[in-house]
């Protein structure tokens, strides 16, 4: 009904998503998504396919804050990398099946997110970004110092991939992809559920008008902390699967450029779109992979340039722009007089 308003609103997040229950696009998109999810390791090298999903969920976790709560975290590497190490340590120490280790890693990420969130959500905008960055740097520093635990610069090597003795999954990255994808899918479903819940309604209200939300009796800071911790858990889930997939956790997972990269992936996909993260991850990860395998040195420069071009051309990111085009097309067809 209200699609007609689209043109006048700048960043239009309230519109019924093209994935909403009544949307005729929903079955088509869900089916398409499922097909891509299943076929991905046939089309590209399975570990790269796994990387895409991990980075996709990582970006979704950032979008939950940036797009839906209005908080730009510049320290999400803390949760991705923190979980990568925690997952690795759990898997190495106890030899548990890897999904258990990953859940442990995600729980660790949520645990450290509580104090970090508590201390950072009082700030907004660039100050929030700086506080989260500072905490992530602290964790990086700790991981670098605690060599006995983390292996320092060498990272945590040889993380086992135990899965109930099913060798295909433990040994073969093609089959492992499906087990890992199931975990990522759980994370995506949680993110989708959160965004489309009463809680999701409140956090978008907090994003749009915190003073009004407070006057209604909502404890804005608590809701922000809640969103922060959920987001950290999802980033942790992604980082844990990533560590298992690669069999190691390194400082690269905790370094500040990783926090920057995931924000880039999120913006590229489209802020406030949720699904955009997966698309952004698809672009960035495949690009980096193909550039790396061609022996090209200036990967960062190329991805940076592409980022600038896409952000300039498509203000709402790849997903957001695509969605807008589809909507406009639908509206045009609807408003055209019928012969």
């Amino acid at each position: 009904m209200s699609e007609q308003m689209t043109a006048s609103v700048d960043v239009d997040l309230s519109q019924p998503s093209i994935l909403s229950r009544r949307s005729p696009w929903r079955p088509l998109l869900l089916l398409g998504g499922l097909v891509v999810l299943v076929m991905l390791p046939y089309w590209i090298y399975p570990p790269v396919a796994m990387d895409i999903l991990c980075w996709g969920l990582f970006a979704i976790s950032v979008d939950l804050l940036l797009g839906f709560t209005g908080l730009l975290s510049f320290g999400h590497a803390a949760f991705w990398g923190g979980s990568a190490y925690a997952t690795g340590l759990i898997a190495t120490t106890w030899g548990v099946p890897f999904p258990v280790a990953v859940l442990g890693g995600a729980a660790f990420a949520m645990l450290i997110a509580v104090p970090i969130g508590f201390l950072s959500v009082r700030r907004t905008g660039i100050y929030f970004a700086m506080v989260t960055l500072a905490f992530a740097q602290m964790l990086y520093f700790i991981a670098n110092q605690a060599r006995d635990l983390t292996g320092g610069e060498n990272g945590l090597q040889g993380i086992p991939r135990s899965f109930f003795g099913i060798e295909a999954i433990e040994q073969d990255s093609f089959y492992f992809y499906y087990a890992g994808a199931a975990l990522i899918l759980v994370g995506i479903i949680i993110a989708w559920r959160v965004v489309n819940s009463p809680f999701g309604r409140v956090i978008t209200a907090v994003r749009d008008n915190p003073a009004r939300a407070r006057a209604l009796g909502y404890d804005v800071e608590r809701y922000k902390i809640g969103a922060f911790v959920i987001s950290a858990g999802l980033a942790g889930l992604a980082g844990g699967v990533f560590a298992i997939s690669h069999g190691f956790a390194s400082l690269q997972e905790l370094v500040w450029t990783t926090s920057g990269k995931v924000v880039l992936v999120t913006v590229l996909g489209g802020i406030g779109t949720l699904w955009g993260g997966l698309v952004g991850a698809g672009v960035v990860v495949t690009l980096e992979d193909s550039l790396a395998s061609s022996g090209f040195e200036g990967i960062g420069m190329i991805t940076g340039a592409i980022f600038v071009v896409i952000v300039l051309l498509f203000r709402h990111g790849i997903w957001g722009t695509g969605r807008d085009l589809v909507r406009r097309w639908v509206i045009d067809r609807r408003s055209r007089p019928r012969g």
């Binding site: 009904m1 209200s2 308003m5 006048s8 609103v9 239009d12 997040l13 309230s14 559920r193 959160v194 489309n196 819940s197 009463p198 809680f199 999701g200 309604r201 409140v202 978008t204 209200a205 749009d208 008008n209 003073a211 009004r212 407070r214 006057a215 209604l216 009796g217 909502y218 404890d219 804005v220 809701y223 809640g226 959920i230």
Partner: protein
């Protein structure tokens, strides 16, 4: 109108902004069930006083008592559930949210439903009927499904009222509910506030003396952060000091 127990009381309430006293030693008493108007020239400190009452600002000194309880220094989200709701002088809505969603959000607040992240958002439609009732009260029922951003100015002010009402407050603080309205909207708002006020206590800031005269049982005149005069409307209106304070101001 009874002078029994004051519902709201401030004691030497003061707010300083870097040495500048926006609200100075204000002793305000609002009795239960009354409509109390707060008037005064721009910059007199009316909005600042509202912010102090609702926790958006912390007083530099003095205290606020609501129903005999000291609420000084509480946060807005702690004060709202006690039964104090406010409208904002500058319309403060969620531009992209529909009208019904605004009311559902307000109605859900005391129930704690907002914490449910694992439930579908459609659960909030348990408040749909009440939302429609409230929208109907302010004459916006037919706009229930449109985003607030697309409303006309007067309609936004009416939505502010509906939202404040959704909290079913004992004390309703209205900051210039008719500002910028045309004469028709103003009369509609007066009728509306009269209806709302039954069974509640209302503190109202307004520059329009027609509005104040029609609604207020008592009037407090604020000037430069201080109480200049207080009493029934007809008394205050003819007060020498008040006339002087307003002289040259376009509002009287």
């Amino acid at each position: 109108m009874s002078s029994a127990t004051p519902l709201l009381e401030t004691r030497s309430l003061t707010k300083e902004f870097r040495g500048f006293r926006a609200v100075s030693e204000v002793d305000l008493t609002v009795s239960e069930g009354s409509v109390h108007a707060l008037v005064g020239p721009n910059g007199a400190g009316k909005t600042t006083l509202f912010n102090l009452l609702t926790g958006f600002l912390t007083p530099s000194s003095g205290s606020v008592l609501f129903d005999g309880r000291d609420i000084t220094g509480l946060a807005p989200e702690q004060i709202a559930p006690l039964g104090i709701a406010r409208s904002f002088q500058i319309t403060s809505l969620f531009e992209q949210m529909t009208l019904r969603e605004h009311l559902e959000l307000a109605l859900a607040s005391p129930t704690g439903m907002g914490r449910q992240w694992w439930r579908p958002v459609s659960r909030m439609s348990v408040f749909a009927d009440r939302s429609m009732e409230l929208l109907d009260q302010v004459g916006l029922a037919d706009r229930a499904g449109v985003p607030a951003g697309s409303l006309a100015y007067g309609q936004k002010r009416a939505l502010e009222l509906a939202i404040a009402l959704a909290l079913d407050p004992r004390l309703l603080l209205l900051d210039e509910p008719t500002a910028g309205m045309g004469i028709e909207d103003i009369d509609r708002t007066i009728t509306l506030v009269k209806r709302i006020a039954s069974g509640r206590t209302v503190v109202l800031v307004d520059h329009n003396m027609h509005v104040v005269g029609s609604l207020a049982d008592r009037v407090t005149v604020l000037q430069a952060g201080q109480i200049l005069a207080e009493g029934p409307y007809d008394e205050v209106r003819t007060d020498e000091r008040v006339i002087t304070a307003y002289l040259g101001s376009a509002h009287v």
